[in-house]
């Protein structure tokens, strides 16, 4: 479950110089210089566009059924073919981006915020506090995604809010570990000691002094996790924990059309799969270029 957790040594390198405006401009320039960033940004922009204006790109509605023309192969009138209820696959793939583009960032943000708070506490207090919370973090990390998914859906009902919470719960301990490692190094530095001597409260030191200095790894972690949020969302939807029909959704559409692959209706899953792949790769390109740009500084 520790996919893509970033190397701790980066934290130190990145920590310096946060907040200075010209450095930030420098960082942005470093980003734009990278081809991967531009490609990733383009892909992401494309799907954001689809999520907002997708409906106007096609004359077909993603919901409109036509029981007389089901399982039609791609053609001029239905670019991506039709599904088992005669719905236009192109319209469904385009519209399917909306759910993901809303839930993935929110889920990642939730996981990042909760994880950061936990990580700060663990890293700052160390000792028994760290030991106790670590056990819980470990226990949650050892909890299979399916279990969290089932429990979440069952307890809260199938909704986007549930998916956001489930993914938040899965991500928080991962992010907490990264943040904890960064804080462990940070807390030994002079500025933290100085704040302590000034008599600042622990809360103040954690969130006002340390937090801005560990923003770099948190930022990198956020973009990396965003890719995995998409990954996890489609997986959970495919396993049946997502929103049910008729909402167009990449994961649950694959689930409901997966059963007819062996009858040769490949178009009912292929385009959803391609859509997921492009979005995930796009986000990861962004994540990599942000990491590289931070490292450059």
């Amino acid at each position: 479950m520790s996919v893509g957790s970033i190397d701790v040594r980066d934290a130190q390198a990145l920590a310096a110089g946060q907040g200075a405006p010209d450095l930030r401009r420098e960082f942005l320039r470093a980003l734009i210089r990278q081809k991967t960033f531009m490609v990733g940004a383009f892909i992401l922009a494309f799907w954001i566009f689809c999520a907002i204006f997708g409906q106007s790109l096609t004359p077909h509605s993603p919901y409109a059924q036509n029981l007389l023309s089901i399982n039609q192969a791609p053609s001029g009138s239905h670019w991506f073919g039709t599904d088992q209820l005669g719905r236009d696959m192109f319209a469904r793939v385009i519209a399917g981006s909306r759910d993901i583009m809303i839930t993935a960032p929110l889920a990642t943000a939730l996981g990042t915020i909760v994880g950061t708070a936990i990580g700060l506490v663990m890293g700052y207090f160390r000792g028994p506090v760290d030991d106790v919370i670590s056990r819980f973090v470990e226990a949650f990390l050892a909890l299979p995604l399916v279990v969290t998914g089932i429990l979440g859906v069952v307890a809260l009902g199938a909704s986007n809010a549930t998916l956001i919470i489930v993914i938040g719960i899965v991500f928080a301990p991962l992010i907490a570990r990264t943040v904890r490692a960064a804080v462990l190094m940070e807390r030994e530095l002079d500025y933290v000691q100085a704040a302590k001597l000034r008599g600042e409260s622990s809360l103040y030191i954690m969130f006002v002094e340390i937090l801005p200095n560990v923003m770099a790894p948190i930022m990198v972690e956020f973009t990396v996790r965003l890719g995995y949020a998409v990954f996890t969302l489609v997986t959970l939807s495919f396993l049946g924990f997502g929103l049910g029909p008729p909402s167009p959704n990449w994961g649950s559409d694959i689930q409901s059309n997966f059963g007819v692959i062996d009858a040769g209706y490949w178009w009912e899953v292929l385009f959803d799969v391609v859509a997921i792949a492009t979005l995930v790769i796009g986000i990861n390109m962004l994540a990599n270029s942000i990491e590289a740009a931070l490292e450059d500084q």
């Binding site: 399982n71 209820l85 005669g86 008729p246 062996d262």
Partner: protein
């Protein structure tokens, strides 16, 4: 073809009043031969007696072989029977312990019927009731006491002879409210443990709580829990030996993996052709289809048309047994909640559906349209004179307007099961054409059913609720539990005294003419009231490679392999 009246009169003398009624119906041409065989069998007329009557009515009679088949070889015996070999079958994974009392799923009920046998067999291929461990049965005239004569010389797999004591034990346990028996829901209001009485060592009588004209179906293979086990059997441990009387004996069972059976050489019906059978369990349908295509298995015990395009569209390569069944979906609308308090609103939803298109798209044509009542075309008592409801958008809109609900929003709860979610979206789309906006709530089965009691279940509490009902041999349960006042599955919250009375009369009726007449009244009442919508009935499908013959599947996913063989 003439009627031999003298012979017929001689035969009449041997039969009861009711049986003679059927003979009259047959002679008058109001009963076709197959229905006569079915009804006669329910009343316990022997096959030879019925044959003699049919012969007296003239002409040679073809009986049986009524199952529709498509594709390669037929499954009934053709050519010389080949002995030996082990048949490999794909089966839905049994979801719980192999316990005849508690089993409730397709995989489990199929397994217990491999070694276990019933008093009577609802043979869905021949579409009539057949003797199994009971050879003859009669009732006391009004259908309140039914007496079964047991087959003699039947031995359990442990060598002990089967007697009335074993049958009494089996049914007393199955009908005991203190036991966790799944059959209780069938026996409710029909049979109590003390109603099962031994007459002599080969005769058992069932004293019913109320008259029941279909009782031989209620203890048949339809009631899948009711396999006859030795007296004193500990049901919880039955799965370790699976002692029954059937043509196959237990060899091994591994939960989630598979089960093996071997031929019983001392079977009362003669040793089976096969050396044995081997079932592999699959969690879903798709791998079963792939396994058949890949040659890993010879037979898929039961599959549904949705998602089975790969084998259904390859007719000729596989032999497919298609059984008419009463397996269906019910969309209930709460008659006690606005706007569905008005029957016109409920009718409007029903008129919005294009049923033939739904059968084609959702079932690949393997089904029959429903008429919003549980009388499936397969039941002999179904009254076909009641007109079929068809799509009529203008009329639906008109009805809504009259009711003062030209457009409204409501919620439909349903379960993730087979094609049900897709059916829900089709209903949603159809309703949108008449201005009704339906929000769908598709839930996992455990969420949807909840505690399965009123107030604790989206199934029973939802304003609109779409649920699946498995096939049964008689419509009694479909008529009672989901529709009568106080019925435990009355998701529509339908309360209608006239209806309750009609159903009571129907269940008690022992002759077909009365049943048919009452069925007509019930059908018309349900069309008028429309507490629920039944869009279609789904065929039961079994597939095998062409070299497999003599399979005898039922529409509730049992498969009897006593006559099965593999040709070389």
């Amino acid at each position: 073809m003439g009627t031999d009246d003298r012979r017929l009169d001689a035969l009449r003398a041997e039969h009861s009043e009711l049986e003679n009624h059927y003979i009259d119906e047959l002679v008058a041409g109001r009963l076709d031969r197959r229905t006569f065989l079915r009804r006669g069998a329910v009343l316990g007329m022997s096959a030879s007696a019925m044959g003699a009557i049919l012969a007296a009515c003239g002409g040679a009679n073809k009986t049986g072989g009524a199952a529709t088949k498509s594709g390669g070889a037929t499954s009934t015996s053709s050519g010389p029977v080949t002995k030996g070999g082990t048949l490999k079958l794909a089966l839905q994974t049994p979801a719980a312990a192999i316990n005849p009392l508690t089993i409730a799923d397709a995989g489990g009920l199929c397994l217990i019927a491999q070694t276990g046998e019933f008093l009577t067999l609802d043979n869905n291929i021949k579409t009539h009731l057949e003797p199994m461990l009971a050879t003859k049965w009669t009732h006391n005239g009004d259908g309140t006491v039914w007496t079964f004569k047991l087959r003699s010389g039947v031995k359990f797999h442990n060598g002990k002879p089967m007697t009335a004591d074993d049958v009494v034990y089996t049914f007393q346990q199955q009908a005991d409210p203190k036991n966790a028996s799944n059959a209780l829901s069938t026996f409710q209001g029909v049979l109590k443990p003390d109603g099962v009485r031994k007459v002599d060592s080969e005769t058992v009588a069932f004293h019913l709580e109320a008259a029941n004209g279909s009782f031989p179906y209620i203890i048949s293979s339809d009631n899948y829990n009711a396999i006859i086990v030795p007296k004193g059997t500990d049901f919880a441990n039955w799965g370790k030996t699976m002692i029954g009387t059937g043509p196959f004996k237990f060899k091994s069972y591994a939960a989630n993996q598979g089960a093996q059976f071997v031929a019983n050489p001392s079977y009362w019906g003669g040793a089976p052709h096969l050396d044995g059978s081997s079932f592999t369990f699959y969690g879903s349908q798709q791998p079963q289809i792939l396994a058949l295509q890949g040659g890993t298995v010879d037979t898929i015990v039961q599959f549904v048309p949705s998602g089975a395009q790969a084998i259904l569209s390859n007719a000729g390569q596989y032999s497919i047994i298609k059984l008419k069944s009463s397996n269906h979906r019910e969309l209930s609308m709460r008659c006690d909640q606005a706007p569905f308090t008005d029957p016109r609103v409920r009718q409007a939803i029903a008129y919005s559906l294009d049923r033939p298109a739904m059968v084609q798209a959702l079932l690949q044509g393997y089904g029959e349209v429903g008429n919003d009542n549980p009388f499936a075309p397969m039941f002999p008592s179904t009254n076909t004179s009641v007109p079929q409801r068809t799509q009529n958008i203008a009329k639906a809109k008109q009805l809504l307007k009259e009711a003062g609900h030209s457009s409204f929003t409501t919620t439909l709860f349903t379960e993730q099961y087979e094609e049900v979610p897709q059916l829900a979206t089709v209903i949603q789309q159809s309703a949108s054409k008449i201005g009704v906006k339906i929000n769908l709530k598709v839930e996992t089965q455990s969420n949807y059913y909840g505690k399965a009691t009123f107030g604790n279940s989206d199934w029973l509490d939802g304003t609109m609720s779409l649920v699946d009902y498995g096939s049964r041999g008689v419509p009694n349960v479909f008529l009672e539990s989901p529709l009568t006042t106080g019925g435990p599955w009355n998701a529509a919250h339908f309360k209608n005294k006239t209806y309750d009375n009609l159903v009571k009369q129907y269940v008690a009726a022992v002759d077909l003419q009365t049943q048919k007449q009452l069925a007509g009244k019930i059908e018309r009442l349900l069309l008028d009231q429309t507490p629920l919508i039944i869009p279609y009935f789904i065929d039961g499908l079994t597939a095998s490679t062409p070299k497999v013959h003599g399979l005898n599947p039922t529409s509730i996913a049992q498969i009897f392999l006593g006559g099965a063989y593999i040709s070389t």
